[in-house]
Symmetry: D2
Subunit: 469 residues, 4 copies
Amino acid sequence: MQITNKKAEKVKIAYIGGGSRGWARGLMSDLAAESRMCGKVYLYDIDYSAAKDNEKIGNMYKELPDCASKWDYIAVKTREEALKDADFVVISILPGTFDQMETDVHVPEEYGIYQSVGDSVGPGGAVRALRTIPMYVEIANDIKKYCPDAWVINYTNPMTVCTRTLYEVFPEIKAFGCCHEVFATQEFIANVYNSINGTAIDRYDISVNIFGVNHFTWVDAAHYNNIDLMPMMKKYAEENKDGKAFTTLNWMNKNFATNQTVKLDLYRRYGILAAAGDRHLAEFCPGAWYLKDPDTVAKYNFALTSVKWRKEDLKERLRKARAIISGEEPLKIEKTGEEGVNQMVALTGIAPYVTNVNIPNIGQIENLPKGAVVETNAYFSGDSVRPVCAGRIPDDVNHLVIRHVYNQERIVKSGVKGDYEGVFRAFINDPNVVIGLDKARELFDKMLEKTKDYLPFYEKYKAEEKSFI
Amino acid sequence: MQITNKKAEKVKIAYIGGGSRGWARGLMSDLAAESRMCGKVYLYDIDYSAAKDNEKIGNMYKELPDCASKWDYIAVKTREEALKDADFVVISILPGTFDQMETDVHVPEEYGIYQSVGDSVGPGGAVRALRTIPMYVEIANDIKKYCPDAWVINYTNPMTVCTRTLYEVFPEIKAFGCCHEVFATQEFIANVYNSINGTAIDRYDISVNIFGVNHFTWVDAAHYNNIDLMPMMKKYAEENKDGKAFTTLNWMNKNFATNQTVKLDLYRRYGILAAAGDRHLAEFCPGAWYLKDPDTVAKYNFALTSVKWRKEDLKERLRKARAIISGEEPLKIEKTGEEGVNQMVALTGIAPYVTNVNIPNIGQIENLPKGAVVETNAYFSGDSVRPVCAGRIPDDVNHLVIRHVYNQERIVKSGVKGDYEGVFRAFINDPNVVIGLDKARELFDKMLEKTKDYLPFYEKYKAEEKSFI
Amino acid sequence: MQITNKKAEKVKIAYIGGGSRGWARGLMSDLAAESRMCGKVYLYDIDYSAAKDNEKIGNMYKELPDCASKWDYIAVKTREEALKDADFVVISILPGTFDQMETDVHVPEEYGIYQSVGDSVGPGGAVRALRTIPMYVEIANDIKKYCPDAWVINYTNPMTVCTRTLYEVFPEIKAFGCCHEVFATQEFIANVYNSINGTAIDRYDISVNIFGVNHFTWVDAAHYNNIDLMPMMKKYAEENKDGKAFTTLNWMNKNFATNQTVKLDLYRRYGILAAAGDRHLAEFCPGAWYLKDPDTVAKYNFALTSVKWRKEDLKERLRKARAIISGEEPLKIEKTGEEGVNQMVALTGIAPYVTNVNIPNIGQIENLPKGAVVETNAYFSGDSVRPVCAGRIPDDVNHLVIRHVYNQERIVKSGVKGDYEGVFRAFINDPNVVIGLDKARELFDKMLEKTKDYLPFYEKYKAEEKSFI
Amino acid sequence: MQITNKKAEKVKIAYIGGGSRGWARGLMSDLAAESRMCGKVYLYDIDYSAAKDNEKIGNMYKELPDCASKWDYIAVKTREEALKDADFVVISILPGTFDQMETDVHVPEEYGIYQSVGDSVGPGGAVRALRTIPMYVEIANDIKKYCPDAWVINYTNPMTVCTRTLYEVFPEIKAFGCCHEVFATQEFIANVYNSINGTAIDRYDISVNIFGVNHFTWVDAAHYNNIDLMPMMKKYAEENKDGKAFTTLNWMNKNFATNQTVKLDLYRRYGILAAAGDRHLAEFCPGAWYLKDPDTVAKYNFALTSVKWRKEDLKERLRKARAIISGEEPLKIEKTGEEGVNQMVALTGIAPYVTNVNIPNIGQIENLPKGAVVETNAYFSGDSVRPVCAGRIPDDVNHLVIRHVYNQERIVKSGVKGDYEGVFRAFINDPNVVIGLDKARELFDKMLEKTKDYLPFYEKYKAEEKSFI
């Protein structure tokens, strides 16, 4: 990379999961729109042909009249080629296929455990973590070998576990996890403000202080200019059971409406605002609260996302990719609202700024353990990301949050060593696993069996004699 | 108090709850057997006639030929008379009557929540705490006023909440909570050892390192002489599903057999030994583990103690008291195995020693919050109780324990202020409350209604408009 | 205050010490140059005529053709008038007169203790603190009463003690201390870079991570764009004994050259860069290192600033003020390079940014005590200042720093209570007080005697019987 | 080792430094007097003939009529023979000879730095540490290899550094450091009590709470029975400049009177009682306080122990040994008052008890760093030493103490790696090194040169180019 006159050139980005039909496309569009940075993107994917498709699409951006920066896209067959001397590494992979995700989400339903997403915590999150961790161990080792000074941006879920695994394997890594859920909450606040004041401010006008873990972050201070917006949100929560009128469509997931009913219930109960979509929030709370059964879910106005839908959606995305490549459908540069490209620009030192991010706790949250990956704002500047001190999470909220921190730390530490029995201890400590020990074991074993092709230590686990029930 | 030649004389003990038919009788017997200390015991009880009965019985000990120390017993009508310039204060009260305890234990069963004791945590523990806290606030204030330098021994449950409330109200208080559950665990270890080695050692021969909170303490090191007994216990746990053969009858609660099945299951799972009876342990774990329903309880070989039994037992104890007073039954000096009297002797400086105790954490447990009341060993010497450093609780165990620490801290802080809504947040965070938010609210309100005569802030709570479900 | 279209209007600033001939003039000029903010500045000073002079000068700015924002200046006779409903409070006072400062700086010389500034630590800093603390107690109480929501910017030394006192008296205050020493270090780094690379970057191009306490801050990371500049500085330090060629004139103190000799010596010794001028740094180190005697000072290329010079300088500034008022000399708008006005703009929410600041430690520095006032970067945004996590100070550096943290905490806590004996314990723990206990007592007493008019507890101190030597 | 009926037999003790004429003789006498333990003592010394002499004397004890336990003494030529499967290891060595100690103590005097002992901190302590650390690295490695489960008792100074080095090299080691200074303080308190009350209590009747680092420990609570003795000591300190009347002769060092003048001065100043002899205390305080020059030392009634005296004393001890072996002088069993043998008995589990000890901080002192070796009481029981929580050291005292903790940690960490430049940073941070940086370097280099035969990294240090002055 070379920086001259506030422009970074010859930037090398390695994209792990470069065949992705969602995040990769968004990044391509954002890069094409960003004039302060230019270079090459190396696309690596275990499905090489998918990477090749993205190479084609990526290079098509250069022809668009409003392209601000002409990036070269190169699909490669090895991780080494992608990573070698990269300036930035983007990781956005699907651990396994949607068949495995089907197991994660729907097998627990046989035991009365409902999950609205199934990719972060709960039975689904734990088993997805078990598939993901060995992949991240390999990636971390390769980054250490081929580009130890690169900045690494993780988009894969379970976000906390993935990011934390990178640090567990290579503690000096410069990595962070990036998620858009907080942006939607800023937008919700802006929309409430607009409805009251007849204004048209947007999410960028709302500054927030946030703390927690990914998908279970909380806002205890929000401002528009110097106006404290928390009293407004408190009043709103007290007077409204839901926020349907201000329903925000999630970035990159435009089919998942969130009606804020869970968020507002939590606000009334705990006095601060949870900052992820309701589908995520519900999974971090005790199972009986919002996910007891489909009726409870309906009562709280959110939905259980079926994997069937995801499979259909993927087909549509594949069709669309082919249509773009063949020229049947036009390619457009549209800003996604994601912050990834802004973060890269900030890291070149050209335009420092503050946004939210997932990194190890060095004190930014006073009452969560040091070293655990947490989400707060951070200051991005030349070659550095430094968290902004977010203070103490209010006790009662923290008691909900810290339980997941403990579980996630256990999953990472045991997962990296292949100690699935340790992971089971986190599994039965999850607030959504409200079944007996024998049933929990049966469920865990069934889920592992179905996903065993991705579990390097599966045989060892089966061979261990288990003396407990 | 006056100490001469290793004997403490003119000791004044104030007994709050001095009409007690259980603990008071035990203490009288232990005092009669202890030659190094003598003086007066002031018995205060809201039921003055009960205290008067104990006065009679207490003074009868002086006539026994094997009485080592002739204590005077005086029933008094005010707390002030009892406390004024006391050297020691013993608190052992029943917060409310067995009718209230019936509510604590059995109303939750209507919601599918089973409790084996119902006096420490869970719905019963929380509501019992709400009754107890205002009484302890008064007692603490009176101690501050009438005998600020006295040593205060608490026997009442919920042990942690009661002891912690004393410190919340009067931070300079010299108080500790005293419980026999660990002794039974030492006895269990001794019995296992004896069965293997053909020896006859007893609980005093077993030294243990303990940490946790009352009724959910754990042993990570046990020795007989310098022999590490943990490998023996590990082997035992792996080879035995229960410890029926070594079943120990609890001190002072001789009807509650504990078969160690829960304890051994936890050992296999977590690698260290829980140190309370199974009935207590079960209540601190997620509800679905050991208390899902009566069948599960049966499977794990423990019992749900019904309050009906307690009522019958009380009748028998009353009958026995009358029989002793009338001379129909003989009075005997029998050592109870409790440590209260030994602790008092140690505090005079005559015979320092180490035993387990509940006091605020000043570092004795590294990974529990400072200030919370925890249980470890402590060194008792002249006018001081200093905890022995017990180290770090293993992570997975600590995650089970700390959740109760958070809840208990919340209950004390909210309970003292009369903020029952705050207590409800602890209530729904209890691992045994695995019901929906609306059902939990219904249960909480029903329990409060039934115990409202003991709740000074009940009307305030009812009057608050609650905007959540 | 009212914010419309990214402009804050009707801003009320209270200036305590509004008769100041240095800082007040700089602020006026910076305000006149700032188009995003406008309003009124209330000048309060114990010397009302000095405030009145500044009122005249302040209002003259409105007539200048390049005035971007026409502020009204009003001299007031009471602190209440100035503070009532203020949006911002600026505090910049001289505690006592230069006669007292003469005592602070020069009496210790009679005991062989040399000070290069005498306003932060050392005997001078301690005694100056004793004068300042009662003034800050009053100011903090008035802010609590008249404008509890105002943002308070402190410029007075001892910076740490003054800012910390505000929080000691009114813990909810929104105050921070502001100092330019770090800027000069950024400029030094930029100058070294320019000399090597033939560029012309300036201090704003250099981003730094800083930690420590005011006047004893340290830089462990510096970047231009994404280039790590620490290797360059290391090489420079190894090859150069001083930095005379890049000597920077301090903001607002253009007569105090700093040749960086101390800074480079510390760099070679500790491996990171101290970030204040050498005159300040020397005073925080053990006295024998750089301040043993005038020869040692000369060897390290810095100077002992005599108070005589300050008195002369003040005369010149008074003359200049009169000349401006009379029209003999022209008034000019010149940016000072100070950050105060930018910070205010950021706090309105219009233009968030990151700069260094002195506020209580909530975790921004891992290895300094919580609650102590420390200096790091912070993120200024709408109505909030949140520190950026600066990490751990390297151990050996921290051992030098933390000693002052302890002393400053002691001085504040004892100073607020009027416990001068406690202050004496900090006095004899200062690294520059390398004299015997009896001599130290003699010096302390002599200094207090000379400044007693400013010491509300002086008589109490004299009356105490002191049983030690 | 084998324990039957409260008696430990076949105990193997390895004595490293087994040719010692002081500590070894005391241990032999204490072992002969202790009926609960018996076995063999292996004496290893680099001076084999000295060990052989002790073997002879040791075996002579068996013939004495009052010998309670007949131990076999065996001098061995390798550390391996001594350590192999030992139950206990005692380390009491002289690092170098008295010639080196002469350098430690007297060379600094050429620079105006006076030391009263020179073996713990200050220039002498640092350089002695540099000699000792490599020896302790070897010993720790051998213990790890030959007897990892043995309990290791260290008597060598610098106590803290030696003990800490063992843990740095072999973190699982079961080691503690043992010192008698606190006992003398208990005796002083007992003597004051006796003089007032006409009693005859002794040090065993005084229980104390202690905290700090070895030779700079402090007592904040002392009791006889349950009587708080601190008010008595406060009054004594206020009314008396010295404690000559109660002067206590140190155990094993019967020539070093301590008149308590420093101790009482510190008491008046800081409000709690320092618990080591004045000669030690003085060295931990800023140099100008008590060690400015010989006149100051005289004023405070203590003495600079010259190494010349130590050499004379050694001659006398050698003579005495020969006289005993030849039968000219009788051998007697006299209890030394040291606790080593009692500690061993406690570790067998036969007789648990509490005494003071030096071990890594796991929370026993709240405000000293975790991991540093600190001195507090500890509970000795079967195969375990667990510190008793001593609480927080009062702030002003802690600021004096923690400085040494930092320096000692630096010395161990740098010393183990052979980074003498790091040790120099501790050297110039010592409160008694009140000389300029160039003089300090000159002194450090001169001291190292004179002791270089014991410094494995000396050549490396000399070869490093040092760019600072």
